[in-house]
């Protein structure tokens, strides 16, 4: 496990608006927040709103008299702030009958997010990964993520378990990393 070494000194620099620290904070957490919110099915506009509001609330807390008590758990704190705001949004959406729990299952098909993930060489390496996968495993990923078929149905058709689905995705990730980090393919 690699944990970024947030400490009291980091939080002090952030609180005082040190440009390098602020840039790191924004970059480091924007990616994590974006993936989390993409998974929850929020629109790009809603994602941007939640990310900005999260940062605003974190910095407000940082500058408050009590501050943040556990610098080493700063990541979990940012997560908590985001979650609280997301739940506020959920309550608002539920009041407007827009909340659908089933929508927050697979990551939403968001061209903007997907373009971000497939920048540069990553797209070519993913393509290579998918081309070299076993046909059965490739069919499984396509059925689930592209055709949005039910996972139980996909498992029954291919004679595999739900746990095996995680193994298939795990293998694809490992192969992608091999091509991406070794410059192969």
């Amino acid at each position: 496990m690699y944990r970024y070494p947030f400490d009291a000194e980091y939080l002090r620099r952030l609180r005082e608006g040190d440009p390098v620290t602020v840039e790191h904070f924004v970059t480091y957490f924007t990616e994590k927040l974006t993936i989390k919110l993409w998974k929850r099915g929020f629109s790009r506009a809603a994602m941007d709103d939640i990310v900005q509001e999260t940062f605003k609330r974190v910095l407000e807390k940082l500058r408050s008299p009590n501050g943040i008590q556990s610098p080493e758990s700063f990541g979990a704190f940012v997560f908590g702030v985001c979650n609280n705001y997301v739940f506020e949004q959920y309550r608002e959406m539920a009041r407007q009958d827009q909340l659908d729990d089933d929508a927050f299952d697979l990551p939403s098909a968001d061209p903007g997010i997907e373009q971000m993930l497939l920048l540069g060489e990553r797209a070519a390496k993913v393509r290579r990964t998918l081309t070299l996968m076993k046909p059965k495993e490739r069919e499984i990923l396509v059925a689930i993520f592209m055709e949005q078929q039910g996972k139980d149905e996909v498992c029954a058709r291919h004679g595999v378990t739900r746990t095996y689905l995680r193994v298939v995705l795990h293998r694809a990730i490992a192969r992608f990393r091999y091509f991406y980090t070794n410059g192969k393919g």
Partner: protein
């Protein structure tokens, strides 16, 4: 959720598959906000998921029917794109590929010798696929596939096909508008020679 637990249950993969319970999902999200290793698993997994969606292209069933299925999931079929040289055109073509659409597949005769001339006629205004076998000795790979007009001029960038890819039928995707109406040849060359040109017409 701690790191050891996240690894043992393949939490990143379960997270992307939507297979975690609500408690596991919240616990794992809180964990990866602090753990770069697990976040990398999520980000790279999300990249693979995005790639699956980006690569899915509608293609027809052989015999003139059309249906939607990912091109790389076609049994024993490798798709290669024949793209224009300009980055701008390529960007446009990649963007268009993300939209669901039907693309006709034209199966080239296995052996052009003795085959009826101009058997394949494609509509050049829209994208189409040329499906063909490479029957050259695998030892003479890589194979260079290119399209030339009746004057011998090559259109688009030649595509390289490896011996592994050539074990299966090759699907060459031709962007719409690349070829003006006329007579063309699909030329496949290996290091040891070439196959008879496969002729087709564009209208």
């Amino acid at each position: 959720m701690d790191h050891k637990q996240a690894i043992s249950i393949h939490a990143a993969e379960g997270y992307l598959l939507g297979d975690l319970t609500a408690a596991e999902r919240n616990g794992f999200e809180e964990h990866f906000f602090d753990c770069d290793a697990c976040f990398s698993d999520v980000r790279d997994g999300a990249t693979v998921v995005a790639g699956v969606r980006a690569e899915a292209t509608p293609a027809p069933v052989r015999g003139g029917q059309h249906r939607f299925f990912p091109r790389f999931a076609v049994a024993a079929s490798i798709a290669v794109a024949l793209l224009s040289c300009t980055v701008g055109y390529q960007a446009f073509e990649l963007a268009k590929l993300r939209e669901p659409r039907l693309v006709p597949v034209h199966q080239m005769p296995r052996d052009q010798r003795g085959a009826k001339e101009d058997e394949v006629i494609a509509d050049g205004r829209a994208p189409f696929i040329l499906d063909f076998d490479i029957t050259l000795d695998p030892a003479s790979a890589p194979f260079i596939c290119k399209i030339a007009d009746s004057r011998g001029k090559t259109h688009g960038d030649p595509v390289s096909v490896t011996a592994a890819q050539a074990r299966y039928p090759v699907d060459l995707q031709v962007p719409g508008g690349l070829l003006a109406p006329g007579d063309y040849s699909l030329i496949v060359t290996g290091t040891g020679g070439s196959v008879p040109e496969k002729r087709f017409k564009v209208r």
